[in-house]
């Protein structure tokens, strides 16, 4: 009896795929609403980087699940793993760069900061990255 030849019932797979894609789409909508509603660049970054990566993760799971057989799901997971890993690696990177530049640029709402630990080092040399 070979595990890799098991087939999951079509109705189960279809329902799971629809639900995962729907949740992913709603998370995309959440990110877009946050982008429009929130006040300054760091707040918008907060909305932009988190829900959408989770939505992409769910949609990648749906891609793998939609291959139906167990061997197909394993192969699909191997194929979508680079996408999710790259997104996990690069979303904080770009958010960090944009957030730092927003701080130096003054495009943040300074009154909303509780503690400004970088106030002393605000005069960084221009070539500091």
């Amino acid at each position: 009896m070979n595990v890799f030849e098991w087939r999951i019932p079509d109705a189960v797979v279809d329902t799971a795929v629809w639900v995962l894609v729907l949740i992913g789409a709603l998370l995309c909508l959440t990110a877009a609403i946050g982008l429009l509603r929130l006040r300054d660049v760091p707040n918008r970054l907060h909305a932009a980087t988190k829900p959408q990566v989770l939505g992409l993760l769910l949609i990648c799971l749906a891609i793998a699940l939609s291959q139906r057989s167990v061997i197909g799901i394993v192969l699909g997971l191997l194929l979508v793993a680079p996408v999710v890993l790259m997104q996990f690696a690069t979303a904080p990177l770009s958010a960090h760069m944009v957030g730092r530049q927003a701080y130096r640029n003054g495009t943040i709402d300074e009154r909303s900061l509780v503690v400004d630990e970088l106030a002393d080092s605000k005069r960084t040399p221009p070539a500091a990255g």
Partner: protein, 89 residues
Amino acid sequence: MNPLLLVIMVVFAVAAILAVVRIVIGPSILDRAVAADVLLTEVMCVLGADMAINHHTRTLPVLIVVAAVGVFGSISVARYVARRDNTPS
């Protein structure tokens, strides 16, 4: 057409329109960079949803390439943006 498919399409469309609205109204270039990043990730989500719903994997290379190079947009904008751009805050 499956009503759930219609709902998913409308949700994706509204999300894309909201991101484009943020790109248009700015106000600073960093806001536009963040919104463009969101729009790009949403394009990836739409490609993935298409693959999952229609049971194919033809656009998976596109997804991988977009995931790999999409980050350079906002990083380079953040790196080379002027120290203080001339926008009223």
